[in-house]
């Protein structure tokens, strides 16, 4: 085998004793092959790749096991020889590309450093070769980009530079550690396609480390699933997705949103999707909404002429990539921000007659609530879960908080014993539940869900999505679901509004739009999202037919 890891264990020494991040992991990779390592946070997938490169933190060490690369024992290699291999034989591409580049050095010079370190260039030839490396990753106007600093480049462009740097010395193995996390889906597709093409044309072997099952399904020849530092299953994508043997990989595959499944299919065991309610009167109407931010002489039109409506009991998806104006729109609807122009009507009456700064005392405050993207950031670190949920009850209702807090906790499935914990003592999923309970505390009629699952692992995302669907059915509340992911939006929403550059590109029925997008942008958005192959429906209960269908 080209790359072979046997029984690899990595241990970190911490103040609270040793942490075994990777335990007895074995993997192998043939020449020209692409291996995908998938797992959720804390699965040890990144640590394994650092172990291959021998760039573990000071506190981490390879406790056991052996890695051979083309016959060379990497684990036993002296540090200086390993250093020679890195960048020349084995290279690595990281997530968060802008931070991965030295902020105060020209990108061209950073590539030259690598070329000259591995004697691929001399002082005289370095510049030409660096420009060549930039051209190889399709950076236009490479001569000019050579002189750019990372802060002058976009995220996607920075990732190309990182790839150029990694491939500059023609290595034979490339390890890509979450190379597209944090990039927009359309950029992700461009970067991944480029990476796949370059490694294929150079006959390189690749390890792709990701949390995204869709990515590995699309780009990898073989897949390793990791959990808690161990490999739970390995195999080729087809078999793995068709008949996962391990319970965890089955659950992981199941909880990844993909075409053809319903929301209840995401959890293990599958549950019948809750019935959709009949839609009532228009609850919220947005008309010609506009927001202009001005800073000095610069003005940015963040939201431009946006109109839509949400009816009683309806869930509307608001979809777009970063910077499309979806968050600004939801902030205006939530009355955290005043619009520059246009109308927002609740039950046909304008909301904007009370300015955002005074809206906290408006009686309609209780009717409009929000679940935030980052549950950790959205709970006051000094409040217990109980205090966080009780705050809106005290301020917006006349109810007593005792009893009501417990009722809400039960509704969102938060164990009552956790109510007196601080946020840092709760897991991500538990914090998400606290955030939802708090949003429901004042008995709102419209809930804005601002990427409520973006920071969560897929298995937890599946649970939270189902919780939201349950609550909608029980409470009859309307949702505005803000997301960048069309496939997630489809699961929960009746209708979808797609935004780009502050404007509405397309709107319509969720199911229909995903099947046949009317606008080319919607199509590119849909097609850019990698999805695992549609699984067979392993429903233990017959899914309830949806009211909307």
């Amino acid at each position: 085998m080209f790359l072979d890891g046997q029984d690899l264990s990595v241990t970190f020494s911490t103040r609270r004793g040793p942490v075994h991040a990777v335990r007895g992991v074995s993997f192998s990779l043939a020449k020209g092959e692409t291996l995908g390592i998938v797992g959720e946070s804390g699965s040890g997938k990144s640590v394994s790749s650092y172990a291959i490169m021998r760039i573990l933190d000071r506190s981490g060490e390879i406790a056991k096991g052996k890695i051979t690369f083309d016959g060379i024992d990497l684990t036993g290699l002296p540090g200086s020889e390993m250093q020679d291999l890195r960048g020349r034989e084995i290279s690595m591409v990281f997530q968060n590309p802008r931070a991965a580049l030295n902020p105060i050095r020209k990108v061209g010079h950073q590539i030259e450093d690598v070329l000259r370190r591995h004697a691929r260039a001399t002082r005289a030839t370095a510049k030409a070769l660096a420009i060549e490396a930039l051209q190889a990753v399709r950076i236009e106007d490479a001569e000019r980009r050579y002189h750019a600093y990372p802060f002058e480049l976009s995220g996607g462009m920075c990732q190309r530079v990182v790839i150029a740097l990694a491939l500059a010395c023609d290595p034979r193995l490339l390890i890509a550690d979450e190379p597209t996390t944090g990039l927009d889906v359309t950029t992700q597709k461009v970067v991944m396609d480029l990476l796949a093409e370059l490694t294929r044309s150079r006959h390189m072997s690749t390890i792709l480390i990701t949390h995204d099952l869709g990515l590995v399904a699309m780009y990898c020849d073989r897949i390793v699933v990791m959990k808690d530092g161990e490999v739970v299953e390995a195999g080729d994508p087809k078999t793995l997705f068709a008949e996962p043997k391990d319970a965890y990989s089955r659950r992981l595959i199941r909880s990844t949103p993909r075409p053809g499944v319903e929301i209840g299919d995401l959890v293990e065991p599958p549950v019948p999707s809750p019935p959709r309610q009949d839609l009532g009167e228009p609850l919220l109407q947005v008309r010609n909404l506009r927001k202009v931010f001005s800073k000095g002489a610069d003005t940015v039109v963040a939201v431009d002429d946006v109109s839509f409506e949400i009816r009683e009991g309806e869930t509307l998806g608001l979809v777009g990539e970063s910077g499309c104006g979806k968050s600004t729109t939801s902030s205006m609807i939530m009355r955290l921000l005043d619009p520059t122009g246009g109308e927002i009507l609740l039950d046909g009456k304008p909301l904007t007659d009370t300015p955002a700064a005074k809206f906290a005392r408006d009686p309609r405050r209780a009717l409009l609530q929000m679940v935030f993207q980052d549950a950790t950031d959205s709970i006051n670190p000094r409040f217990t879960a109980r205090q966080a949920i009780a705050d809106p009850i005290h301020r917006l209702t006349t109810e007593a908080s005792s009893g009501r807090v417990e009722e809400l906790a039960q509704q969102v499935g938060l164990p009552l014993s956790l109510l007196d914990r601080f946020p840092h003592q709760l897991s991500g999923g538990q914090k998400a539940r606290v955030g939802i309970a708090r949003a429901l505390a004042s008995r709102p009629r419209l809930l804005v869900l601002d990427e409520p699952t973006a920071a969560l692992d897929v298995s937890i995302q599946a649970i939270v999505l189902n919780l939201l669907a349950d609550l909608r059915a029980k409470l009859g509340v309307s949702y505005l679901f803000v997301s960048h992911d069309l496939h997630v939006v489809r699961l929960l929403c009746d209708r979808v509004v797609v935004m780009r550059g502050g404007r509405v590109v397309e709107s319509g029925d969720a199911e229909a739009m995903l099947r046949a997008p009317g606008d080319p942008y919607t199509r590119s958005l849909r097609d850019a999202t990698p999805v695992p192959p549609a699984a067979e429906r392993v429903s233990s209960a017959a899914p309830v037919s949806r009211a909307a269908e």
């Binding site: 990281f94 931070a99 991965a100 030295n102 370190r117």
Partner: protein, 339 residues
């Protein structure tokens, strides 16, 4: 004009509000002189009439804005008032004594940078090693030791007990003649005329006060150097550099320490502020004839106008030093060039 020159000019313009603020505060402080300035300037034997006369002569009856403009006009003409006891213009005395203070401050700065920066970097690279512990001890000492106390302890040990240092009285022992003034720095001036004996005499006088001051400024520099270096070393771009096989030397000195120097440069402003203050105390301990001891002498004889002249001079010096730091930072960090 190139973009860099433009940016430097822009930074220079940004120092103007600080100067205006400094002059305003200084004006307020001079008008708040204890009691009635006229009574104060008239001296103890003054009569009603002579006080009124002085009041009129000083323009104290005029509206404040007019007094302020007069004050600014005087400043622009280089008039900081006169010293009560010597009768000499404050500005003249300050300029005469400034080289002594600068010699002390600069040698202390060079000394503390030469120790603190490598120490901080080494402590970060070898976190938890004996170097790190030595740094912590030194930083703790630097933070908690009052400069005047350090100075006194050093004098006791190196002058009284060991006899290695000359008596802590000024810049040069009486047996030497001060060298002809070129830079105003005795050590440099003596070397310029090839007088090694005087140079060594001046250097011996300089060692203790400069070390005292250096120990005090070492703490913030070493602490910031270590913190910035630790942060740089844990950055993603260092991981990239390591993964690309760059040598440890290039990673630490090429990539990490260059980035780590940016926050250190910013800290220099604070360091200068501490230094110019501590300078006063050190000059008093070592009878160093700089502008700090001038201010202390003026305080002793209650010559508050001279003190305010000193405060303003120091503030202007500090504003200029901060400007220098800003410009350096602008030139080093490409990210500031966007404006």
């Amino acid at each position: 004009m190139g973009p860099r020159a433009k940016l430097v000019l822009f930074r220079a313009l940004q120092a103007i509000p600080a100067l205006v603020g400094v002059v305003t505060v200084s004006f307020i402080l001079t008008r708040m002189l204890p009691g009635d300035p006229a009574v104060y300037f008239a001296g103890p034997a003054a009569t009603e009439a002579s006080i009124a006369e002085i009041r009129a002569a000083m323009g104290l009856d005029d509206p404040l804005p007019i007094q302020f403009f007069r004050y600014v006009a005087d400043l622009l003409a280089g008039d900081l008032g006169s010293n009560l006891s010597t009768g000499l213009p404050v500005l003249e005395e300050l300029t005469r004594r400034l080289p002594a203070s600068l010699e002390l401050t600069l040698s202390a700065l060079v000394l503390s940078c030469a120790i603190a920066l490598p120490l901080g970097v080494a402590a970060a690279v070898h976190q938890g090693s004996w170097i790190d512990h030595a740094r912590r001890a030194l930083v703790t000492a630097g933070v908690s030791l009052p400069t005047f106390f350090t100075g006194i302890v050093l004098v006791y040990v190196f002058y009284y007990l060991l006899g290695w240092a000359p008596s802590p009285l000024g810049r040069l022992d009486f047996i030497y003649l001060s060298p002809p003034e070129v830079t105003g720095f005795y050590v440099v001036d003596a070397l310029l005329i090839g007088d090694l004996e005087t140079a060594s005499g001046a250097l011996q006088q300089l060692v203790l006060p400069a070390s005292t001051l250096a120990l005090f400024t070492l703490a913030p520099l070493a602490r910031m150097a270590r913190a910035a270096m630790l942060q740089a070393l844990s950055s993603d771009y260092i991981r990239t550099a390591r993964a690309a096989g760059l040598s440890e030397g290039q990673v630490v000195f090429g990539y990490a320490s260059q980035n780590a120097m940016l926050p250190v440069i910013t800290t220099l402003g604070m360091v200068f502020s501490f230094m110019l203050g501590a300078n006063v105390l050190v000059e008093k301990v070592f009878s160093w004839p700089g502008i700090g001891s001038y201010a202390v002498e003026a305080l002793v004889v209650s010559d508050y106008a001279a003190v305010q002249g000193f405060v303003l001079a120091m503030a202007i010096l500090f504003v200029l030093l901060n400007l220098l730091i800003d410009i350096t930072y602008t030139l080093v960090d490409p990210r500031t060039r966007d404006g």
